[in-house]
Symmetry: C2
Subunit: 449 residues, 2 copies
């Protein structure tokens, strides 16, 4: 039942992506482990690493020879882009597919889950980043969400903070800080500042910053307000660092594009606390929370990753930006918010009762006529040939119309068409069966069911 609605959600997301001119491009579910991790030990822990069983001609247990299940759709895309110089650029692609992460399952977090991504490959324009935010806004609205917030930041602003605070060298220190900042939704601002000041320790998560550094980050994290205010405050704090100026300019351009595109200001904000955990982001980043179900985390997130294609291709920079909706997490949110009410139990519109083994040919012909009129039709195929059992089955399945044709009806040259919801049954000549069914179904559609 829920899967029918899940399928409809996927169809709607796809329609939005196509309306924005994105084309499908699929990549495999398995990749060389080294392609996926890029040497990142944290990612390594997340992966389902896979070997062929005995007898295979497959790479064996040597780590660099192993294959793993993808943990996202972005890294495999970058590999394919690097291997496909013939792709016209900019290339706008979408892909829906499962990804796997060996994490502990919890609310909104699954080991295998469906992502639906949109990416623009080969564009460094802030128009591309703004379009990602516009797409997220459009998808969320068309799925019926009214209370959600898209939080936008820029990795360059974070880099400028690191430069200004003097924790930009070695580069791993920035990542230590970002890892701590990433916890802000879970543990809050004060705990983050406290943790930043603790000695570096993989277990407790300290970042080893001194008092002045922590104080700078505290001022940074306090920045809040309307986009122009936040941009102004960031400019005042970090505008004297060249990379900070770049980041501020990008955020300002995105705000301007979103206004021109007609995106409602209420649904997005610049939030300096957003970092996004993945290390491949280089510019604007974003995530989306459901205002009334924040506990399930971000349902739609992404950012710019200008360096990722370069990991697989020397001497070339292919700037990219993309966004990814976690379909299962979004769906969990819709369930939690009661947005999935009164679902249809089946895609079938008609169940043709099967009341006599001798009449199989009649049922097959009836079903063929209905399907020829594009009516989704099933014939009852269970063992119980009684009317009562099949009526109970039709009700359980939730099919809107039952077509009943037994030996009596055959004798009279008629058929019974039963509206299962209105509980009305009408006997019509056999030749008018399809017409009658279509009329009952259009009544169903009018009444919104």
């Amino acid at each position: 039942v829920l899967q029918i609605q899940r399928g409809r959600i996927i169809d709607r997301i796809r329609a939005v992506y196509e309306r924005f001119g994105f084309d499908p491009l699929e990549t495999p579910g398995i990749e060389r482990t080294s392609v996926l991790t890029g040497g990142n030990a944290d990612l390594d822990k997340l992966l389902y690493r896979s070997f062929p069983a005995r007898g295979g001609r497959w790479p064996r247990r040597e780590p660099d020879q192993s294959v793993s299940l993808r943990f996202d759709l972005t890294v495999p895309l970058a590999r394919v882009v690097a291997a496909s110089p013939e792709l016209p650029k900019p290339f706008k692609r979408y892909q829906v597919g499962n990804v796997w992460r060996g994490e502990k399952p919890q609310l909104g977090r699954f080991r295998e889950f469906l992502q639906f991504d949109a990416d623009i490959v080969g564009s460094s324009s802030t128009l591309a980043d703004a379009e990602m935010i516009q797409i997220m806004d459009t998808v969320m609205r068309e799925l019926g969400f009214t209370a959600f917030t898209i939080r936008v930041n820029d990795r360059k602003v974070l880099s400028a903070l690191a430069v200004k605070g003097g924790f930009d060298d070695p580069p791993e220190r920035v990542n230590d800080v970002i890892r701590v900042l990433d916890k802000i939704d879970g543990i809050g601002r004060e705990a983050v500042l406290e943790e930043l000041g603790r000695p570096v320790d993989p277990k407790t998560g300290g970042a080893g910053l001194d008092g002045a550094q922590v104080e700078l980050i505290g001022r940074y994290l306090a920045i809040d307000g309307e986009p122009e205010d936040v941009v102004g405050a960031l400019e005042a704090l970090l505008g004297d660092v060249p990379i900070g100026r770049e980041g501020v300019d990008e955020l300002r351009a995105i705000a301007s594009h979103l206004a021109a595109a007609g995106v409602d200001r209420a649904t997005w904000r610049i939030d300096p606390t957003i970092a996004r955990g993945l290390d491949y982001y280089t510019g604007p980043v974003w995530e989306t929370v459901l205002d009334d179900a924040r506990e399930i985390g971000s349902v739609y997130s992404g950012g710019r990753y200008d360096g990722l294609v370069g990991r697989f291709m020397t001497n070339a920079v292919v700037p990219c930006t993309g966004t990814s909706v976690g379909v299962d997490r979004l769906f969990a949110g819709m369930e939690l918010l009661g947005m999935l009410e009164s679902p249809a139990g089946t895609v079938s519109q008609v169940l043709v009762f099967n009341l006599s083994r001798e009449m199989s040919a009649d049922y097959l012909a009836l079903a063929a006529d209905l399907r020829a009129a594009n009516v989704r039709t099933a014939i009852y195929m269970g063992d119980d040939t009684t009317f009562k059992a099949q009526l109970a089955y039709a009700a359980r399945l939730g099919v809107p119309v039952a077509v009943i044709y037994g030996p009596d009806e055959r004798g009279r040259g008629t058929v019974q068409v039963k509206d299962m919801r209105a509980r009305e049954q009408v006997e019509v000549p056999l030749g008018e069966c399809v017409e009658r069914v279509v009329r009952v179904l259009s009544k169903e559609i009018e009444s919104g069911t």
Copy 2:
């Protein structure tokens, strides 16, 4: 480019499945290895066995604790059915998803490939088996295939052959014979008979039958003709074995149902040589070959598997039947047969040229208007702001309409709408842009492109 067509194929298959009243039901890509193999060592060799990397809380290398990627969509379905007693039965489900097999890739054979299955769970009726064949016929026709053959047999007939020939004990002997029969398309009838007579040997594949046994199978394999003739000949040869009578009756009922359902007799035949390799089949089995591309193998196959759910649930028999199209293999067939001619390069219908950085807001507004009219629209987001570069890009992408709005047009309050295929360009007032684009696109549709 090809992926757009692949997506359309999937949409069409889904439309057929839904028209026959099948509902979506998805199962995970990874399962416990023991669920997938059921102890079958041959399957074990096929599997991608997967372990979490270090640090995971995941099952480790003990074989029975490991997880693997599914090799089909049928075994996981059976597990889910066993775990879901609340499912109304009969239950008609469809699923599209990737499966993985550690085989050597070759024409039409991939390590990761997409299957699209339809199954009827909880029906022992031959109506269900016949419906599978009808669905295959419908899908193939709606995808544009005209020359294909659905070959149908019944495992019970093969079992009767084993009883009659005295090679039914132990049961593994039957599987040895079926494994050899399965090679008939590759090596031919004579070679199969020769191999059946060789001593049992996992390497050479002999089945260790004596002369009389080989002679019986020779007579069996020679049976050919119209469905009623084949059924008659099978009845004459094996009708005195109870399980053979069952199989013959099933094939006769299926033939009768297919005639009543209006399935063209030219597209299917009873072929006693068909065995299907998988060991879970118990009754009717089928496969589909492209008459003009037989070398890629069966593109659409399945059968009845009454015992598979019982593997996961004691004290219950849930009879099932199903069929599975190998989308990638089918697609390879369509390519081979030249059925994928003149593909559209993009789903985009309009490219809005981006000729001036100062006019971003105008382009965003133009695109928003077009999308509001359901026109799939992209804005050029590359670096090159020259008209020439963007025209070349539009042509390369294959987008049918270009909308050109530069400083000159802005001065005149107009926009250029260019029909890329007819190479016609018309300047219209800005406010008539959408109307003009829609008119050009509807012309495109009329001319069938």
